[in-house]
């Protein structure tokens, strides 16, 4: 008997440990994002690996800094319009959000190198340029709103499942659901079997508000060898801010046990709200090395290796449950707070690209990035066992390839026209997400030492999410995201 009890305790502990696998989705979220760039490079599909001479090099391929023959600085504010269309239980929905931010700011200091008198001043190391900058690499702003009638299941089924797995201890979600009469024990005291009290046919709505983003403070240098070979190094101090506030509402009818001493089941209407609030902050560090080679004057080949970003993440999560029942009862539990500080590292990122210049009339550029999201890793420590998270990262995510192509036409010495296209490969192995496709276009103006670049990008992608997970019966929501962004770079050469 004692051994049996011990075994069951071990089993519960094992299951409990496994259940703490919730950070994998965040880890992948923080491993995504775009290479920071100016409006000019964004307009050509963000294919800047093999360009050089643009301030995007500070955050992209540092070798590109070697192209500068003057010092330069620029500032790029952005405007974002984020639209999320949803389909839940065949019911369409939509929500939008607009935000503005500083997207990119960078400077480069041109430093000419010296050669003894009489030496060839076009051969050897010609310049050593260094720069710094800020770039915003990921945008988490979005509002999501979906609603529909669910005739098959209820979020109470999820609570019941939790109760069957972990019991209904005070303070747990399942315990709250039991207290709120959302679930009952349909078995016996000896053999509990929790089930939903809801009659099939409930109305559900989810409202989610997200803000935040990822940014990097970059420092880099690039050196120029004979105007043919360029090499650069860079470091980034990265910052994560992610806030997500979500409410899941469910309205329906319950079978509630009422009366003493012999309770009987009475049908009551109910409305419940499950709230999840998450505030995440983190900072990290990464490095990168890049090179650009010009085999002939018209062709540039570039490559960058980005090291993993080592993040320390502070995560504050809380959840609460509130229920109104038409017999006059009101219940409110929570917020139950969970705070954790954990370390993670993002995958390596490899990028290669090529560009072809048609004298000074324009260029065509393209690059390919490779990221293996399944190598994202969360560290375990004394407080936290990340085994489950890492297992689910390995099994649910995959390597992805991002493509970027673009072209610039230098119509006159002061007017430039650009267009581009890019796809960001999906990280998920399942079909719950699509590639993100971005179309871009822009113009550039040059006024002596000053320049202005304006860019518009249009990015689309779909994702399937689940408000609660109850196996194959989990209700799914199709989210269709559209981001319309505007970028304006103001630059000055000195």
């Amino acid at each position: 008997m004692k051994i049996k009890y011990l075994l069951s305790v071990i089993a519960i502990v094992a299951v409990t440990k496994n259940s703490f696998a919730q950070y994998s989705q965040d880890a992948i979220r923080f491993s995504g994002g775009q290479t920071g760039s100016t409006a000019r490079i964004k307009a050509v599909g963000n294919a800047g690996t093999a360009i050089g001479g643009d301030l995007s090099s500070v955050s992209g391929n540092p070798a590109g800094l070697g192209f500068f023959t003057k010092s330069e600085l620029s500032l790029t504010p952005e405007f974002n319009d984020i639209k999320v269309k949803s389909i839940y239980q065949s019911t369409p929905g939509m929500d939008t959000k607009t935000s503005g931010n500083l997207n990119h700011a960078a400077f480069v200091i041109y430093q000419q190198l010296n050669r003894p008198k009489g030496a060839d001043r076009n051969k050897g190391w010609l310049s050593f340029n260094y720069g710094g900058g800020y770039s915003r690499t990921n945008n988490f702003y979005e509002n999501i709103n979906y609603a529909g009638s669910n005739g098959i299941n209820s979020i109470n089924d999820y609570y019941a499942g939790q109760a069957n797995l972990y019991g209904i201890d005070v303070g747990t979600l399942a315990g709250n659901a039991y207290d709120h009469n959302l679930i009952d024990n349909y078995g016996t005291n000896a053999n509990p079997n929790y089930k939903s009290n809801a009659f099939p046919g409930v109305d559900q709505q989810s409202i989610i508000t997200r803000t935040g983003g990822q940014s990097a403070l970059d420092f880099a240098f690039g050196a120029n060898y004979s105007n043919k070979f360029y090499i650069g190094l860079g470091v980034s101090f990265t910052d994560v801010r992610f806030n997500s506030f979500s409410n899941f509402y469910e309205d329906g009818a319950l079978s509630v046990l009422e009366g003493t001493p012999t309770p009987v089941a009475v049908t009551r209407d109910y409305s419940s709200k499950f709230s999840q609030d998450q505030t995440t902050r983190g900072s990290g560090f990464s490095g990168r090395i890049g090179a650009i080679f010009k085999p002939v004057e018209a062709v540039r080949l570039g490559a960058v290796i980005n090291s993993p970003t080592y993040y320390t993440i502070d995560d504050s999560y809380s959840e609460s449950l509130a229920t109104n029942i038409s017999n006059g009862q009101r219940y409110e539990d929570g917020p139950q707070n969970y705070s954790l500080t954990y370390n993670m590292r993002t995958p390596w990122k490899f990028a290669g690209g090529a560009s072809v210049f048609i004298k000074s009339f324009g260029f065509i550029t393209g690059d390919i990035e490779y990221v293996d999201y399944s190598s994202t890793h969360i560290s375990s420590d004394a407080d936290f066992d990340a085994t489950g998270d890492n297992a689910s990262i390995r099994s649910l995510y995959q390597s992805a390839v991002n493509y970027h192509v673009g072209a610039e036409a230098r119509l006159t010495s002061f007017f430039l026209l650009r267009g581009g296209y890019g796809t960001q490969g999906k990280a998920r192995r399942d079909d719950n997400a699509s590639d993100i496709k971005t179309v871009s276009g822009g113009v550039g103006l040059r006024f002596g030492a000053y320049y202005v670049d304006a860019t518009y990008t249009h990015a689309t992608g779909t994702q399937t999410v689940y408000p609660y997970e109850i196996g194959t019966a989990s209700p799914s929501v199709l989210l269709n995201r559209t981001n319309n962004n505007g970028f304006l770079t103001l630059g000055y050469r000195f």
């Binding site: 994998s24 643009d54 669910n150 019991g167 009952d184 209407d269 649910l396 040059r446």
Partner: protein, 316 residues
């Protein structure tokens, strides 16, 4: 058609304008875009006019130069500096020590320091990386030095302290950004309570049709707590604890619970909503009287079956 014409005229006009007077300045500086016109040239090292024996032999000249002692002094100094730094590819020297040159970038070093803090701070894990960025002034150090980071991390600022092995006075200081104490860390009142699992975003697994794919452990009926209308089991089964450890310590279950439906003869889970139930779908449900009878055998399209027996029995 008319609009197309207008558009065309506008475009042609813009092109024509752009090719003439407006951008005179721009066209004068045709090499103003390093994306296209990056032709760097190296600078020329300044010559160091060290006193040569030839001068010494020329008495007159020597005499004239001797009149300027300072010149010699500084010149000597710079030639000494040459010994350890002349061959630097990254260096730039002025002819005269101490000469003020506003364009002398060479006197500034760029340092990057990265430190690892072994200190324990309150409310924190004791380990943290601190990045320090220095843009240091070094009298003779034009080198970009990758330095060591300092070990001081307080309140979210790393104190990066760059040291360049090639610099003479070129120690750069940087205030680092980074480390885990940056930002609102102190908002966490307690550490190390992982939040509960609310799903991996892939409840149906990776495989086709939600079958046992990768990542989805267990059979489809056994997902994250999904028990589709499973009849209550009787009797014992091994392994998993069916009895909640009431009052056995360890679990705080010392609160009153309702009687189980299984024991009070009401063990049918609600299967079908009474058709007559009038429900307000707002979030403040008003009371609606329970229907007297749900009717037998009706099956709504959404009902997932199992358990059988049609509607719930009428309760008094």
């Amino acid at each position: 058609m008319k609009r197309n014409l207008l558009l065309g005229i506008t475009m042609i006009g813009a092109m024509a304008l752009s090719s003439c007077s407006v951008n005179k300045t721009a066209s004068n500086q045709k090499n103003s875009d390093d994306v296209y016109f990056s032709q760097a040239t190296a600078g020329e090292s300044p010559e160091y006019i060290a006193p040569k024996p030839v001068y010494r032999q020329d008495e007159e000249a020597a005499y004239q130069e001797e009149g300027d002692d300072d010149y010699y002094y500084y010149d000597d100094y710079s030639s000494r500096i040459n010994r350890f730094a002349y061959y630097s590819p990254f260096s730039y020297y002025d002819n005269y020590y101490g000469n003020y040159n506003p364009y002398n970038y060479g006197n500034y070093g760029f340092n990057i320091g990265l430190g690892y803090s072994p200190f324990t701070l309150p409310y924190g894990s004791p380990y943290g990386f601190y990045g320090g960025i220095g843009y240091g002034y070094g009298a003779f150090s034009p080198y970009a030095g990758f330095g060591y980071g300092g070990y001081y991390g307080y309140g979210g600022f790393g104190y990066g302290y760059g040291y360049s092995p090639y610099s003479y006075y070129g120690t750069g200081y940087g205030y680092g950004y980074g480390g885990q104490y940056w930002g609102g860390i102190s908002a966490n009142s307690s550490y190390g309570t992982p939040r509960p699992n609310r799903g991996s975003g892939s409840p149906r697994g990776v495989g086709v049709g939600g079958r046992n794919g990768i990542g989805y452990t267990g059979s489809p009926n056994n997902g994250i707590g999904y028990y589709p209308n499973r009849p209550s089991r009787n009797g014992s089964n091994g392994g998993y604890s069916n009895t909640r450890p009431n009052n056995t310590g360890g679990y705080s279950n010392a609160r009153p619970t309702r009687g189980t439906r299984g024991e009070s003869g009401q063990s049918y889970q609600p299967q079908q909503r009474p058709a007559t139930s009038e429900r307000q779908p707002d979030r403040q449900p008003s009371y609606s009287p329970p229907p007297s009878n749900s009717g037998g055998g009706g099956s709504s399209s959404g009902s997932s079956g199992g358990g059988g027996g049609g509607g719930r029995p009428t309760r008094p």
